[in-house]
Amino acid sequence: MLKLLLLAVLLVLSPLAAAVDAHQMATPELQNTYESINAELRCLVCQNQTIADSNAELARDLRRQVGEMLTQGKSKQDIINFMTQRYGDFVLYKPPFKGKTTLLWLAPGLFLLSGVVTVFFVVRRRKTAATRVSINTEQQKKVSRLLDEGDGV
């Protein structure tokens, strides 16, 4: 039982031990760029992780590539271009806005707009429904008479 408990605790703690090995850059500025690039590139093996988060072999190689290119004086854009030429836009966590991705980028706005339009019409219909209920005094009398009669049943 104690062994099981120990195992459970160790398993829970294991992500701490698996912290991703990080490249150490020469200056703090380079280190910042290095980390920000890694956080924008997708690990293609484990598709929902960035290469900064992933321990996959490929992620390690891509981090090495980023580090080397930065040391060679390449800009962030150079490195992003290098990666997209090889792996396509899919490697970017933030896809560029272009023909193919128009719908992707505009969809949230369109959904919001359609929601607003729906709410507008629903509210308006409720209002008109509420006004339609108002009746004149004669109808009012009829209603109360009918209600009274109903009491007798």
Partner: protein
């Protein structure tokens, strides 16, 4: 009437999109390399590391680049299909031995058969990055001009050899 038609329309649109979504394979990333010249490489041969093979050496012929490794489980699955296919001598097959130990790789070819006309080594995975390799095995079809025309990710099976690769090879061999 409209009250019933609108939900029906929404349902139909959703069903179509979700249905299409089921058929997508998110693990297959389209290669930006298709239609582009092969990445420049020059790599030592597995059986003779003092000799290099480069893309220029293969100009004028249709060839396949098969990315493999002895540590790769699905390569083993593919290997039998590939060795059988190689016996037809339909096309030049180049093996890119990706991030592998040369001794283990040689061993693998010796015990399981060697489908490759030439195998080259990419021990640190740099050639792999240039080709956009992310999931071994991968197979590229290259034409006589050295343009990448088709990429297959994952193990190739016998049916795919017949329905995908042989038609591509025939087509590219007919080109000038």
């Amino acid at each position: 009437m409209l009250k019933y038609l609108i939900p029906l329309a929404i349902f139909t649109v959703l069903a179509v999109f979700l249905g299409l979504g089921l058929k997508l394979k998110p693990s297959e990333i389209p290669s930006p390399l298709i239609g582009k010249p092969v990445p420049v490489f020059s790599a030592p041969k597995l059986d003779n590391p003092t000799q290099n093979l480069s893309a220029a050496d293969l100009k004028g012929q249709v060839w396949l680049l098969n990315v493999w490794a002895s540590w790769c489980v699905s390569c083993r699955e593919e290997h039998e299909v590939l060795t059988q296919f190689a016996q037809q001598k339909a096309v030049t097959i180049i093996g890119l031995n990706y991030k592998d130990d040369p001794a283990a790789a040689k061993n693998w070819l010796q015990s399981l058969g060697n489908p490759y006309d030439i195998s080259i080594m990419d021990q640190d995975g740099r050639i792999g990055i240039d080709w956009g390799v992310y999931g071994v095995p991968e197979t590229f079809v290259v034409d006589k001009q050295g343009i990448v025309r088709y990429k297959h990710t994952g193990p190739v099976n016998a049916e795919q050899i017949q329905t995908i690769f042989l038609p591509w090879i025939a087509k590219l061999k007919a080109e000038a």
